[in-house]
Amino acid sequence: MPAKKTAKKADIKDLVIRVCVGTGGLAAGSQEVMDEFGSQLKSHGIKAEIVKKCVNKTGCRGFCAKDVLADVILNDKSETYQLLTPEMVSRIVEEHIVNGSPVKEWLVGPEYHAFHDKQTKILLKQCGHIDPEDIDAYIKIGGYEGARKIFSLEPSEVIEEIRASGLRGRGGAGFLTGLKWELCSKAEGSPKYIICNADEGDPGAFMDRSVIEGNPHSVIEGMVIGGYAIGANYGYVYIRAEYPLAIQRLKIAISDARKKGFLGENIFKTKFDFDIKIKEGAGAFICGEETALIASIEGKRGMPRAKPPFPAHKGLWGKPTVINNVETLSTLPTIITQGAKWFSSIGTEKSKGTKVFAITGKIKNTGLIEVPMGMSLREIVYDIGGGCEKNCALKAVQTGGPSGGCIPASHIDMPVDYESLMAIGSMMGSGGMVVMDDTTCMVDMAKFFLSFTQNESCGKCTPCRIGTKRMLEILTRITNGKGREGDIELLLELGNSIKLTSLCGLGMSAPNPVLSTIRFFRDEYEAHIRDGICPAAVCKALRIYTVSVELCKMCGKCFKACPSAAIAWEKKQPAKIDKGKCIKCGACYEACPFNAIL
């Protein structure tokens, strides 16, 4: 870094400013903060080209709750600021950078360190530290060393190494990556293809987006390794069109990698050719299923087909194909450089390595975390996540998105790995974790997930197309206060048959959120059906509106707002609601200026 005297005599040696510009950071205004740092430094007499060198952007560092986050590194001493706005920048430049004393009250607090200390970062280590649009930054920290190393090995040795590491697919089912590769490498047919599945559609999961935005080269390097191992010369990245920033950074990364000779013909000066093409998805959740994804790349309606034949034998254009998830691919370079033994020393017996989770919902420290497999849910929620927002009581944690289930607060000490999650009726999925407290209605939650899968069902097989529709009708009925005796049993029967008879993973897992909430929160279903009460007071139709005599100012606004003449009111008299006539539309609640309608 250049040394430069400023106009105000400050000695700016080795100054680096790193601003998080992931989607979360950008939404919080990180671009403006970055620009402000630039113009403030310039106003202190620092030349534009030097400013450009020391103000860097980085990908997501995970702690999105406190965005905008920025590191100011001065003379090798790093300080991190949180919740920055452009207005705060001039004071930081003046006091910290020019005069050398950090603005203490704006620095990150102990929760920032607690959030990071319990994590084991392999995949996210570089996200948040390097500029994702600079290939040299990635090479400087050892990037593409893994890809370089594999060319001294036989493809079968690479497969053996990944197999020995115990790495399992991070996208859902958790199939052994090495085994998948071996099947494909032994399959007959050419050319072979490797596809990166970046169609991250689970509501509540955003690790793939963050990895591509923060460290796109690690995904490319992973694809090179996979391509060499199975003997594929072509790779596709199937990515959601809803992730424009990730697509843009991936495009830059691919073109930079080509310039360096890491992609294209004779990559790394060997005889191996490998190139990558980006395919933008068109908005269909089902395309995360591998056979549907293949159909979509081929330009067809993204409908799954029956397996076998598996894509490893008959995939894209009928040729042997491996499909790996973003997180899986981006883990590969580190496994190659550090060795399978090192990787398999992390995690549990059957679930190796680390897993990235997106923790969101009613939790204090929302963001992206990476922990060793097998860590207890308690550590994740309380030690890293900081517990529930506003100190409400934890009710459940939902994992695996619409394919997963709820883990009730009573099971908070369970380890988080593939097997334990399956055993409790949930699944790892892509790693979304939504925390719910006592203001979340579990029936409404189940309805939310089911309406998602119902909407995304491709319609090819009957159990999923019609079965989920019927289940949704029952759930809607229950949340509308019209539930019947026997509805719970009917939901269980339908759910279990859909699981058994659907064609693909979407249908087979669609009933999970319903089945698992019935298993652990059956009382809430019963309260809706039998007592006409929503215990969390979420379901509007089950609310009973009453007038607080103390708060009522007798203005009559509710009387005028009521469309069903359910409110009795006379001047100088508090209003009264006739429960028989009330249609629970909430108009009186909205109309009351004194919060007297409860």
């Binding site: 989607t23 979360g24 509501p203 509540g204 999961a205 793939d208 908005g283 330009g299 939504v434």
Partner: protein
Amino acid sequence: MPQPVLKGESMTDKRCEEVLEKHQKEKGNIISLLQNIQEVFGYIPEDTVFWFSRELNIPASSFYGVATFYAQFYLKPRGKNIITACCGTACHVKGSGPIINKIREELKLPEGETTSKDGKFTVESVACVGACSIAPVFIGNKKVFGKMTIEKASEMLKGIDKGKGA
């Protein structure tokens, strides 16, 4: 039924020819072709489908099948400004529903409609934009607005209407 063969005959739009040229050069498929059409026209006009169907000798029904399968394609023109509401789990839990209702109410959108009468706004929803940590999330003309509230939503609409928020 109208005669499909006659449809699109009148299409002499130069833009279609440019899209066709690009499509043939890139050896694209129906999805990428539809994506290109939508990029140019803002939606998939019926006429263009028949025109491309004739040029490429692909049945129009194949186009229709793909276009209706994927949520990304629009068969009707959209508003000048696009508001996208994230309906992911985190946004749902954090109360995106009432905010969407408020926005629809302010724009006077009738039930089932997504575009306002004056053609200024289209309100859509998307399954998850993957920015759950700043839920509830709304996107106004590609700009992400996080931690949305009912008050902030009105401000966002006003800002976009004045051309500031875009």
